[in-house]
Symmetry: C2
Subunit: 164 residues, 2 copies
């Protein structure tokens, strides 16, 4: 299988597949005499596994450790351990998210409660201090979350437009 076909079947770009190979994540590839890469059918399974693992929150570095890329010898124990750690991680994250949501919902109620009547700045200050009061989310020492960006997109270079 050529890279183009593998790309189509897996819904990854060729460049991405080459990239995975370049970082040692995808070693299941041979070269034809002309230099073209050629992949066995298992490669499809493997890169889909990689993509799936990414969706589940694994970094490529973690995936490299997890999946010895050749399907033949992966270490049972390391794998289990890592998976278990990851479940713990997810559980912790779920707790954090629940906290965040609780906080946000409280904040919304708080803001809605005041029909724009009273002084806006005063209201702001009140809301801010409320927000800070229960700003006791456990610090993310162990990693980080980013959710759903792309909201306040700024067109040009941020520094430049901000220097305005």
């Amino acid at each position: 299988m050529n890279i183009g076909e593998l790309a189509k079947r897996s819904n990854l770009t060729p460049s991405r597949i080459r990239f995975y190979e370049s970082i040692g994540l995808l070693k299941m590839v041979e070269r034809r005499p002309n230099g073209y890469r050629t992949y066995p059918p298992e490669a499809l399974v493997l890169i889909e596994l990689i993509a799936t693992a990414q969706k589940a929150g694994f970094s490529l570095d973690e995936i490299r450790v997890l999946v010895p890329t050749d399907l033949e010898n992966w270490q049972h124990d390391t794998l289990l351990e890592t998976l278990q750690r990851k479940v713990a991680d997810i559980t912790a994250l779920e707790a954090r998210l629940a906290q965040s949501r609780k906080q946000l919902v409280a904040l919304i109620k708080d803001i809605e409660a005041k029909p724009g009547d009273i002084d806006c700045a005063e209201n702001a200050r009140r809301v801010l201090s409320r927000m800070l009061d229960n700003a006791d989310l456990p610090d993310m020492d162990a990693g980080d979350v980013k959710l759903l960006g792309k909201a306040g997109r700024v067109r040009a270079n941020r520094r430049k437009s901000a220097a305005n």
Copy 2:
């Protein structure tokens, strides 16, 4: 208040505070004749709010839109709307995480069930296909999550070490 003190009180680095100013996030700052920045006490509240919002998963771009940085005029409606969207985002993410965890737990059980007896490669293949079978996580069109990296740390330059 000088930047150093603000930094200490907020537990952010001075460079980070300057950075926030440089991207137009923190406009609450004056200059003393010597060029030193000087902050009113409210600045502490504000940057703590920024940090809190980040912990809750807001990007700096989103925060810029949310918090007009002067405490005096923020738009009630935009704010509410954004907060609500964020709650929805978090809910969606929670669903995704629950899915991920369920999948991982199933996978762990699956692996544990086979005492390393049977062929390792066969086992691997079985586990992989199981993983791929329920690899139906909703695609993250709307954003992305990263959890808890720093596991499979590779020392030197990744490209370089992989080229080995």
